[in-house]
Amino acid sequence: KRVRDTRTKLAPAYHLILEGILILWIIRLLFSKTYKLQERSDLTLKEKEELIEEWQPEPLVPPVPKDHPALNYNIVSGPPTHIITVNGKECINFASFNFLGLLNNEKVKSAAQASLKKYGVGTCGPRGFYGTFDVHLELEERLAKFMRTEEAIIYSYGFATIASAIPAYSKRGDIVFVDEAACFAIQKGLQASRSNIKLFKHNDMADLERLLKEQETEDQKNPRKARVTRRFIVVEGLYMNTGDICPLPELIKLKYKYKVRIFLEESLSFGVLGEHGRGITEHFGINRLSGQGYCFSASLPPLLAAAAIEALNIMEDSPDIFQTLRAKCERIHKALQGISGLKVVGESFSPALHLQLEESCGSRENDVKLLKRVVDYCMNSGIALTQARYLEKEEKCLPPPSIRVVITVEQTEQELDKAASLLKEAAQSVLN
């Protein structure tokens, strides 16, 4: 009985009252309207409508002046082979990247024809959805064997290859060290990857090492983060914008010293450098699944894949074409030295050279106009040349205006000499 008494003893009165008030307060809170932050815009409907009325957007595109150099394209009638008809005039082609002369090769064409007869033109789907043909698989196998890598993967668009491959591996938070002279496709790939980009001076290994050392000290401050941050170096085998090659052995040393992976872009060096045209050796292993331009885009038309396989066959069967190409490059490189007003930019064995003005005349626009006159002079005398085209506002490090000279195996020695002397003449008459 005593136990029951203590258990049923009533709480003190103030306790009950307090709890009662608390309960009433909770009920009030539950049912009261939520407190809204004042609307950011206290605009009335009429004011909103006025704003909508008044707003004037910019035109979708600004007008382009009719004489913009990039607007008026050269029209090539017929195939862009060794002898090319540009704007109605027949010229020797020093502008198309046809290094091994395979554009007009009969074997390549007949392989493509056979493929066309078997598969039609298009693949009607991406690789994942019935767009993988046996030709693609064969080409990938052959490329892997040729490049001496474990596996290879083909894309249907050259630009998209590096622009998709970089973001497939390098994501937000990773660090990429890239050469300043990297081409636009690499720049777009880096932009898409959202990684931290660090530019180092063109081919300057000391600068690169400095950046790597800085990164190392950063890493020591935060080892946990460092363990999950991937690091890459992106370089080109043969730079499109400057015509020289990257110092690969030093890069490999740096790679193992600082634990960085190398991305090598070989669009110019493949089929050009090396005894068998394998490009700058040392290749990166490739994953098939995740590149965007691979998964979400239609695969390469089979006739082009067949043409590529045949081209590989030719490259493997006649490795002497690479020596021939190199000899021609050296020849014209030498011949172009000493043109007053123009300087040659590029390695002596590079089949894609640039001719830049020794002295700029003040503005890029005027430089471009001057170079156009040189090009037109040459075109009128039967040598087809072009200026190197860039998107001036979009490039990170815009190269100076230049004339692009492309050397192919099909050009004879007389033609090379003719081109060199014509350029000398043109420079004389236009620049002096």
Binding site: P57, G78, P79, S96, L116, G128, P301
Partner: protein, 538 residues
């Protein structure tokens, strides 16, 4: 059928696909909703509207049944548990690890793949990997030959037996008008151009890569679309990713549909503009975004936006839905924004003469500021195009990334497009093009109707040649694909991450080349494959 009632659906019942009563154009457009009398699960909307829509717009996206949703989650849960178990076994070397591994010299480099990112790949994707990347060895027409491949290690590697599975009914390739042929006028013309021009161009459009063939193609495409001018590019994906950044930049606003293709998303991201997403095909959502954007301006600075670009697609290939173009155009005009229409799947496939979604709705092509499309699907070639006013195309010729840096289109591919466009337009002197467009429309309606009658859940617009059939459960993705292949039908199955996690589906792509017998065979075998797992569709 069940007892159907008609009434104006109240706001609370409107799904995201409903056309509202307070119409954009302001005039009295009514939304008439058919509501199943027993449950409110399926809502078909037929919009009768004299103002904006000249034809009925019939789209349906049935809600996932509750039981199915629960079972799907359970399925994924089981798979995840097994995944962890297998990872554990691999780590303790009980099971062999087949992953790509680092070379010895690079063992202490930061790994390329984070373990978790790869979890899905190793444990879920690998199990059903054989449903994708199936190699074929014939023209991807109505019937296709596939190389048989087997895997002895659960899909980690494949070996080819050397056998070829012949005459598989191809419902996976995007061959809407049947131009994927190895004989015929298109192929002959392409062969001629190939022998004359070669396979490549070796230069960019701005340098030495602009052939007379390209100019011819662009004039033809402009005529076909009914626009002033057009420009063609070598890759459809790249057309978006390289030209959107040329059109908009910082200080501009992009309003992009929820389910836009990866190329549009990439292009929008690369441009540097602010991106806002509106709900799929939902015009209220779009209007709200437009209003807020103009009224409030840029975030924080309140400066007015330089321009607003709306990104939509003609047909959304995962959903099978068609964009509500009349409403989008009305909105765009009211709010002075620009419209970028990606007709990758709809060009050639919609409209009485195959000119795409603009013709389908009977609209004026000049109302669409940027008409983009691809040549891969209905023309049997490769590449993309953009059409519009002359100033737009001139600007793109000068400032597009592709014009300055990418190699131009290959001449035989260009010829294929020229011939197929002429065929569709009827300029080759035959009726083939017209007949194919009509055949596709008939095939679409027939196929969808029959599947619906059988009780399958089909998404999308009744006129869309892309037919998604809902599978939902993860196990069914692989199973359905394999069963159909056993019965000689090739379909595409898609799961996460291309679709929401519980909405995996199989996708049929119809073609004008499919005959009625093929479609009937497909129906019958779909039914059989489904029933193998003895779960009734509804």
């Amino acid at each position: 059928m069940t007892d159907l009632k008609y009434r104006l659906a109240p706001a609370s019942e409107m799904s995201r696909y409903c056309f509202p009563n307070n119409a954009v154009s302001g005039d009295a457009s009514r939304c008439v909703c058919l509501i199943d009398s027993s449950t409110v699960e399926e809502i078909n909307h037929i919009v009768h509207n004299g103002g904006l829509y000249k034809r009925p717009f019939n789209e349906a996206f049935e809600e996932t049944p509750m039981l199915v949703a629960v079972l799907t989650y359970v399925g994924y849960g089981v798979l995840t548990l097994f995944g962890y178990l297998r990872d554990f076994m691999r780590q303790w070397k009980i099971e062999k690890c087949q992953n790509a591994t680092e070379r010895e010299e690079q063992k202490d480099f930061v790994p390329l793949y984070q373990d978790f990112e790869n979890f899905y790949n190793r444990n879920l994707y690998m199990r059903i990997r054989d449903s994708w990347n199936r190699p074929i060895c014939s023209v991807p027409g109505a019937k296709v030959d596939m190389m048989e491949r087997v895997s002895h290690d659960y899909n980690w590697t494949f070996t080819y037996t050397g056998r070829v599975i012949k005459d598989i009914i191809n419902m996976g390739s995007y061959n809407y008008l049947g131009f994927a042929q190895k004989t015929g006028a298109c192929q002959e013309a392409a062969a001629k151009v190939l022998s004359q021009y070669g396979a490549g161009v070796c230069s960019t459009r701005q340098e030495m890569g602009n052939l007379d063939k390209h100019e011819e193609l662009e004039k033809l495409v402009a005529r076909f679309l009914g626009v002033e001018s057009a420009m063609a590019y070598g890759m459809g994906f790249a057309t978006n990713s390289m030209n959107i950044p040329a059109l908009v930049g910082k200080g501009c606003l992009i309003l992009s549909d929820e389910l836009n293709h990866a190329s549009l998303v990439l292009g929008a991201r690369l441009s540097g503009a602010t991106i806002r997403i509106f709900k799929h095909n939902n015009m209220q959502s779009l209007e709200k975004l437009l209003k807020d954007a103009i009224v409030h301006g840029q975030p924080r600075t309140r400066r007015p936006w330089k321009k607003i670009l709306i990104l939509v697609e003609g047909i959304y290939s995962m959903e099978g839905s068609i964009v509500r173009l009349p409403e989008v155009i009305a909105l765009k005009k009211k709010y002075k924004s620009y419209l970028y229409l990606d007709e990758a799947h709809s060009i050639g496939a919609l409209g009485p003469s195959g000119r795409g979604v603009v013709e389908y709705f009977g609209l004026n092509p000049e109302d669409v500021d940027v008409m983009m499309g691809t040549f891969t699907k209905s023309f049997g070639a490769a590449g993309g195009y953009i059409g519009g006013k002359k100033e737009l195309i001139d600007y793109l010729r000068t400032y597009s990334h592709s014009a300055a840096y990418a190699t131009s289109m290959s001449p035989p591919v260009v010829e294929q497009i020229i011939t197929s466009v002429k065929c569709i337009m009827g300029e080759d002197g035959t009726n083939i093009g017209r007949a194919r467009v009509q055949q596709l429309a008939e095939n679409t309606r027939y196929f969808r109707r029959r599947l619906k009658e059988m009780g399958f859940i089909i998404y999308g617009n009744e006129d869309s040649p892309v037919v998604p059939l809902m599978l939902y459960m993860p196990a069914k993705i692989g199973a359905f694909g394999r069963e159909m292949l056993k019965r000689n039908i090739g379909v595409v199955v898609v799961g996460f991450p291309a679709t929401p996690i519980i909405e995996s589906r199989a996708r049929f792509c119809l073609s004008a080349a499919h005959t009625k017998e093929m479609l009937d065979t497909a129906h019958e075998r779909t039914w059989k494959s489904w029933n193998r797992y003895s779960l009734h569709p509804k």
